[in-house]
Amino acid sequence: MKKVYCKIEQCLACRSCELACAAAHSESKNLVGALQEKEVPRSRIRVEFIDEKGTLQRVRAVAIQCRHCEEPLCEQACISGGIHKDEKTGDIVVRLDKCVGCWSCIMICPVGAIVKNENMHQALKCDFCPDLETPACIVACPTGALVYCEPEEMAKEQL
């Protein structure tokens, strides 16, 4: 299955992906509108620094989001039965109507990919932007650090 990958050497930590993700998951679907919404939408992708020292060119960062694991631990930990792996697509799906905000998924996710919406008691994470052709973060990334591809393609590139 296709996943979002971050090429660390190309990430400048500009956080464009975070803004695009938040906007894509807002009611109004655009950044200006999103900021005026009652519930400020949250990004499900997070840029984290690996090394902060050195010049701008030397900054190393990684955009972290759900890995849509083969054996998802979040599905195992979810007490409400609200997380499952879609058999057809392989995507890990959170059903917000089931979520109670117990944060068991945060307790167990080994990459820290789950985002809290505390007001709504809901766990949020990457859903590959089901309404869009390409996930918003991929479109927004100005350096090509974020790619949406099959793991094999990614593996080839790393060789």
């Binding site: 660390i8 620094f49 409400s80 307790m107 080994p110 990459v111």
Partner: protein
Amino acid sequence: MNILIIGNSAAGTAAIESIRKHDRQSSIIQLSDEAQPLYSRCLLSYYLAGSIDKEKLLYREEGFHKEMGVELHTGPWFQVVELNAAQRRVVCDNGRTFNYDRLLIAAGASAKLPDGMPNDKGIFVLRNLADVEAIKENIRDADAKRAVVFGGGLIGVKAAVALNMCGLRTTMVVSSKQVLSQVLDYDAGQIIAGQLRENNIEILQPAGITEIISRDNRLKGVKTDRGQLLDCDLLIVAKGVTPNIHLAQAAGVAVRRGIVTDSTMQTDHENIFAAGDVAEAFDIAIEDYTVNALWTCAVQQGRIAGLNMIGKKTDYNGAIGMNSLNVCDVSIISFGVTSPKEESKYKTLVLNQPERNVYKKIVIDGKNHIKGIILLGKIDNAGVLLSLIQRKADVSAFEEELLSDRFNYGTLLKYGGEKELGRYYE
């Protein structure tokens, strides 16, 4: 192959799902003495509090068992009363017998009741859906106004918060000197006790209940060992659970506190497996066999048992105490051993910021492996820390960063090298 599963909760369900991923042929029969559809026990306190409706308790969609090709029998009359390991057969309370080639005992645990606890109206445990329905009925019909919760563990705290949300004046009677003593250290326990008190939940500790006062078999109050008399019309006893091992024990299956299992969740009998609250498995933080009566452990053990029952040899990577709960808007996550007995053998890192309700603690052993974690108030990236315990990572190089709010997966990439990336970024 004929597969028989005793129990219809976390472990049993996980076993069914893992079996059916690979095997649609084998017959699966599941027995449960609870006449309820498959629900999530962990959500019961939410249901009691009224923050979710009954429908939301359902752990899987209606029709799950049919879809999975499982013949499910539920109700008290399907309680298994006898296991004959030699003949590979079980007998239910109603006399029905079922044969098996592989048996999974996922019979769970029962709430402990102290000796001499009378059977008066108004006294409850909080374990099953039936318990919660009875408590709700008592609040509604008997117009309960004052409640006492006996016990300050996970269930006790959750029960007290829920009753408080129902509008009952609630008092907790806690025997140890802190709340959540199995999960938190003393300092974190004090923070949570403070939160509970701020929300008008009274806590008496250390204290015990010495006498139940009833009139016409109806609870009127309790007397504590400090001589206090607490009027109440509702008492929830939350003094922990005991694994339901009697059936296995009587059949000659090896038991200690729980049913003894190996790394494949098999018991000392070749065709009998055990998982969940009834089973003892290796705990990677305690480094010994123990019962972790926790939802996530039950799911993982059930999954492993299921795979091994159909011959897909898979080892369990070990249990660990892990809890996530919210108490009065404070999020808490804890792992492993948070207050080690031989304190001098461990290094503890603590971040205490009461002004923003944040408390974090990391317990590290002599080999620089993390053994226990408390995250209170700030729980982001908890699973990243858990993964360090699970893979016995040497954390000496980035010890100072562990308590930081900025600790994240990127920190591991920095110190662990980008080989780490391969693990989850493949």
